[in-house]
Assembly symmetry: C2
Homo-oligomer: 156 residues x 2
C-alpha cells in the first residue's frame, strides 16, 4: 500500500504536480477497495466517512491515477466510467452478468498469447486491451429456467 503512494508521488513529482491531502485520500480509498468502483461511489464512500472531498477533485484525481499506471478503466456499465486498481493485481478479463451485475474476473494465458500474435500480424503495437463477456452467471441461469417463458424484451 505504501508502495502505491510512492509511485503516485513519483509520478506527480516528475511532472511538477503536487501531492495534496485530497489526492492522498482518494488514492488510499481506491486501494482499500477491492472491486470495481466509479467516481460517484468513491465520492459517496469518502463523504460518509466524513472526508469531505469535492466531486470535482475526485473526477480530477482518477485520470491521474490512470496515467500513473495505478488504476484502469473497466467495462462501462450503464453509462458510468468504472475503474479498478491494477497495481499488483495484474491484467485480467471480465465476465459481466446481465442478470445480477456480478463481475467474474478471469485470466487466460492462451488468450493473451493469441492476442499478441494477432497484433504482431497486423503490425499493431498493443498498449492495453479489454475483453468483456456479457451473459448470465450460474445462479441467474437457474432463476431464468424457473420462469416458464422469457418475457418479451419490451422493457425499456
Amino acid at each position: 500500500m505504501e508502495k502505491v503512494v510512492l509511485i503516485f508521488k513519483d509520478y506527480l513529482r516528475k511532472r511538477g504536480l503536487k501531492f495534496t491531502p485530497e489526492r492522498e485520500v482518494v488514492l488510499r480509498e481506491v486501494f482499500s477497495l477491492h472491486k470495481h468502483f466509479d467516481a460517484e461511489q468513491l465520492y459517496q464512500n469518502l463523504y460518509k466517512r466524513k472526508k469531505k472531498i469535492s466531486r470535482a477533485s475526485v473526477y480530477r484525481t482518477l485520470p491521474l491515477l490512470v496515467r500513473a499506471g495505478l488504476i484502469t478503466e473497466t467495462l462501462r456499465c450503464q453509462g458510468r466510467t468504472s475503474y479498478e486498481h491494477i497495481f499488483g493485481h495484474g491484467h485480467h478479463d471480465h465476465m459481466l452478468c446481465i442478470g445480477c451485475g456480478k463481475v467474474i474476473e478471469f485470466r487466460s494465458e492462451k488468450i493473451e498469447k493469441l492476442q499478441k500474435e494477432i497484433c504482431r500480424k497486423y503490425g499493431f503495437k498493443p498498449v492495453e486491451h479489454r475483453l468483456g463477456i456479457k451473459g448470465y452467471c450460474r445462479e441467474c441461469q437457474k432463476k431464468i429456467k424457473m420462469k416458464k417463458k422469457l418475457p418479451l424484451d419490451r422493457e425499456k
Copy 2:
C-alpha cells in the same frame, strides 16, 4: 439490404410495434454505412441529406435495431455510444489506434473457442462479448519513432 428491412419489420410486427418511415430511413442509413457510427453522426448525415428526423427518433430507433439483432454497440470512444451493423457481417473484434483513431477489425477462431471454454468452466452463459485492443497502428508507430522523445502526457 432488403433482407434487413424484412428482419426489422418482422421484429416490429411480432411485438406490435410499427414500421414507420422514420424507422425505415434510419435503418437504411445504418446499413448504407460501412463503418462505426454514433447517434449524432447518423442524425447529421440524415439532416444534411434533408431527411429531417428528430434526434429523439434516432435515439429511439437504435436500441430497436440492437434488439432486432441487426446492429451492436462497439467500443466506446470518447463518451459516445457507437454502433456498427452486424448483419451478414459476423462477429469480430477490434484494434483501436490511439494515434489516429483507426479501427482494425479482426477475428480469431481460436480466441472465440477459448472464450467458450472459459465460460463453460465458470458455468457462465455468454450472450455477447467484446474484445478491444488499444495501441498504435503501423503508421503511427513510425510517426512516433521520428520524434526524438515522446512528449510527457500532460495534455488533458
